[in-house]
Symmetry: C2
């Protein structure tokens, strides 16, 4: 391959928005993908279950995609794997825990795939690429970055990371390896930008370990701890503190139970033999000797903690004397749900400890001083900020420039942009499509923005349906109209409003005269009825006419 063939760097997700991370590196007729994640919908996507990347560009060149590399096991990095593999079944490479998490998903979707476990330092050759995994600290074990050798030069792709010099699981970010890459000369750095607006350093998990130990040691009653189910190191701290203070542990909430079992089986969680309790055991165990680890850190309505707070959990109800620790931050968009949960816990009489009032959580991403360390070590020729909302990418690019990178070498890309790099330098190529794909129930990509707009309209003011049976010749009503509403009016006002619509229909269509162009009349009637309802209520329900010609 001539050296003038460019390396093409194509983000299909995760740039300019959090979630559904996916990056494609393409050289000649070989493509590799790094991460295939999903994004959780928000209020702008009512009823949508998941959002995945639009990988049409890849599907149109299926035979070129030769491997997928996964940096770590979080949903926003692996969650869309079943949907991709269903379309193009390529080999997958990742560390052990990540494989465990991917396999659970693939099994649910009944997909067989070739997922190879690698270790940091292992290098995989795929056509012109050699991909080496290197260890990073993050909020899940077995997180890795990638060093990708290409004919044009070496790419460092960090994945999600932070620098923690005293991590609980013992997993450091391999600064030495990055220094060596920098020494040899790096072509491109693609680095995590999630916390590019936060000054200083992210504190070590050790800080949280000390706080948890103190709270669990001081508590007189039961202690209930919630955190992200994938945050294995945090669960380890809780188990360690429980052991130290002579408490036993009950784990509840489906994803927490699954993750604890899986992490224990794979050796990522050290649990003393007699530590865990069954539902029967926890019922009889003294409160002062009990720690409960559960789901619910994001205020999810069906999570264990929410059910405990509202009194609908099978085994546990919150009562005065309980100490509840939220060892987590609300993910953007979940603030209201999380704080509502905290209020419910207080109302149930618990003492609640959360990140605003104690050091019970640290972030999983590098803050600005950590990012500077990575830039200084790798000293890349080009830079692309990845993982983050648009402002994070901009701030991270500015950080790179403040460290001496020429502005023309640092690129803020968004999904679908194509960066081409060859011996002559780097430049933007022609964009590819990188839209949202909505998953709603069984449908992948069936729901579009028009459907969502209808849903939002329905959500705001409900709907009114009216049914008219008319004579096919004269257009005159053959029977009284039927009018009904949903989500529009309360029980006191509804009858009069429905009656008013009915009367309007009778006034216009019920007379003796034959209507010349009665189909056009029907068309304008719909607007008249919408107008009538708006005048009477200042609301704008969706008006649905049904006409039967008899």
């Amino acid at each position: 391959m001539a050296a003038s063939t460019p390396l093409r760097v194509i983000p299909l997700g995760g740039l300019g928005e959090i979630g559904r991370n996916m990056m494609v590196y393409e050289y000649g007729d070989t493509m590799i993908a790094v991460d295939v994640g999903l994004m959780f919908p928000d209020v702008e996507h009512p009823g949508v279950d998941l959002i995945i990347p639009d990988w049409q560009y890849v599907l149109d060149r299926k035979e070129r995609l030769r491997a997928v590399f996964l940096t770590h096991g979080h949903e926003d990095h692996i969650g869309a794997m079943p949907f991709l593999l269903r379309e193009v079944n390529v080999p997958v490479f990742c560390l052990k825990l990540t494989r465990g998490l991917v396999q659970v998903k693939l099994k649910e979707h009944r997909i067989e795939a070739d997922v190879t476990v690698v270790e940091p330092g292992d290098a995989i050759e795929v056509g012109p690429f050699t991909v080496e995994f290197f260890s990073v600290s993050h909020s899940i074990p077995d997180s890795a970055g990638l060093i990708i050798e290409t004919p044009v030069g070496t790419v460092v792709h960090t994945g999600d990371f932070k620098i923690d010099h005293t991590p609980i699981g013992g997993q450091h970010t391999d600064l030495g390896r990055l220094a060596a890459v920098g020494e040899e000369g790096a072509l491109l750095l693609c680095a995590d930008s999630t916390y590019a607006e936060i000054e200083g350093y992210t504190p070590s998990e050790q800080v949280v370990a000390e706080t948890l130990d103190r709270i669990i040691g001081d508590a007189e009653g039961r202690v209930i701890v919630t955190t992200f189910a994938s945050l294995i190191s945090r669960v380890q701290m809780v188990i360690d503190a429980a052991e130290k203070h002579g408490r036993r542990v009950f784990v509840t909430g489906r994803s927490m139970v699954n993750n604890v079992n899986m992490a224990r089986d794979l050796g990522y969680l050290r649990v003393p033999g007699n530590m865990l309790m069954t539902p029967n055991q926890v019922r009889d165990h003294p409160d002062a000797k009990t720690v409960i680890v559960c789901t619910g850190s994001q205020g999810e309505p069906t999570s264990a903690l929410t059910r405990m707070a509202s009194g609908s959990h099978q085994q546990i109800a919150i009562s005065p004397g309980d100490t509840v620790i939220l060892s987590s931050n609300p993910v953007p968009g979940n603030e209201k749900a999380v704080y509502k949960n905290i209020d419910m816990l207080y109302e149930a009489g618990a003492k609640v400890v959360y990140n605003r009032i104690a050091d019970v959580h640290v972030r999983g991403h590098a803050a600005r001083e950590e990012l500077k360390v990575i830039h200084r070590l790798v000293r890349p020729r080009h830079f692309v900020p990845i993982h983050g909302e648009y402002r994070h990418l901009v701030l991270h690019r500015e950080l790179a420039i403040s460290l001496g990178m020429p502005p023309e070498d640092a690129f803020v890309l968004t999904d679908g942009d194509v960066l081409e790099i060859d011996d002559d330098g780097a430049r933007l190529g022609e964009r590819v499509e990188a839209d949202y794909i909505y998953i709603d129930g069984l449908g992948v990509g069936e729901i579009d923005d028009f459907v969502l707009r209808d849903r939002q309209h329905l959500a705001n003011d409900g709907l009114v349906v009216y049914v008219t049976a008319v004579d096919r010749h004269s257009g005159k009503l053959t029977r009284p109209p039927e009018v009904m509403s949903h989500g529009f009016a309360g029980p006191d006002e509804e009858p009069a409003l429905m009656e008013a619509v009915s009367q309007l229909l009778i006034d216009v269509l019920g007379g003796e005269a034959k209507h010349a162009d009665w189909r056009a009349l029907h068309e304008s009637l719909k607007d008249d009825i919408a107008g009538l309802l708006h005048r009477k209520t200042h609301r704008r329900p969706l008006v649905i006419p049904v006409m039967l010609e008899v």
Copy 2:
């Protein structure tokens, strides 16, 4: 009145949740209300415009309500006034700016009311109550607390406040007056809890003034500043900095223009003669000499800033070289909208300065050390934390206890609780109703939780309507059914789904046999169709059957 008659303290809004603040003090047959605010709905209340307190308790005793006292002019303290005065037109007392803001509302609603302007130090006698206003610092001028003398003792009701020793408008919290009340002996303190989870002190507005001055002084291009329209002192800072650095100011966004005009007319805003520009003037004025003050600090979709960012503002489009300052915090629930706006501004090429990366905002409420000052000065016998979500109330009560108050004297009340205080002490009485009243369009209280549940259902999966015309004797179809959907399925899948429903209807109702109990059959058909749609899509639209008997 015998001293054994208790003072009754009845919160009808604002305890356990932010917004729609309203407190009633009742002694014998006299009631006074303090603040009559509204709350803005969130995603749990689709389509609802406003939420106001449920004041049925007051309406049932209309003749007892003798006056309303307003502490300051924010919506969550005055916004429901038109709705209350429409039901019971009583005299209103407040400071001058608050009156200006209330009058605008009353005018919109065409309500005439007797609103008397008072000054700090003025005392109003209402039956057994004497109500004195005292000055407090807050994020709007003319904020006040109340010292309410009752036959049982003196109540201090702070309203929203913070302690700012170098406020921009010159308005201090009158610590001296509070010390005098404490010296004489206070019965009850009701104090702002909004920031009871924040350690330390809220910084002075002076900090923000210095940051704004530096950013406006250093900027090479246009500077665009958004903040809360009611935050007059912040607008004053921007005007002062603009004057100092030789820039002129353009104000845009309806509520910002209205508030600037009103504040200037009433003397709360000092604007040099030639400072403000018209739309025509700003078009021709050099960028380096321009400051724009606008609405949009909460990411509101139709605000001036959002329109500038998206290119739909009449006069201004964001362009590279612009510096945009968000001198505000996202109100809980608005985080996503605010950060989306920031991303859009970056994408349009602006430099964006916001609270996470610079000191461009301080809060309007007292943090824990300030609260301690108030408790120490007033030294009340009883304490009720007000203004805040439930956890804030609990934390504020714990703060009072940590300062030496006996736990039995400090009460966490929620809306509808009744605290009775007499010479024998304080205790909870029988609760009164204090529900939500939803305002949707013209309806006050018409919409209820059932309607909202329908709307949420519609929002999640849309709806399917089917219309059958059946013979009134046999129940058989007399014509093919009509089936349609909204917000349910995308254009590719919809025809087949509608066809499947239609076919099911024909299969069941179209046969030759006469159905014995065909009305019951119709009932079960609706469930069959819901089941069919769920099997095919894993979604659960609202299924609306319409049957015409012919």
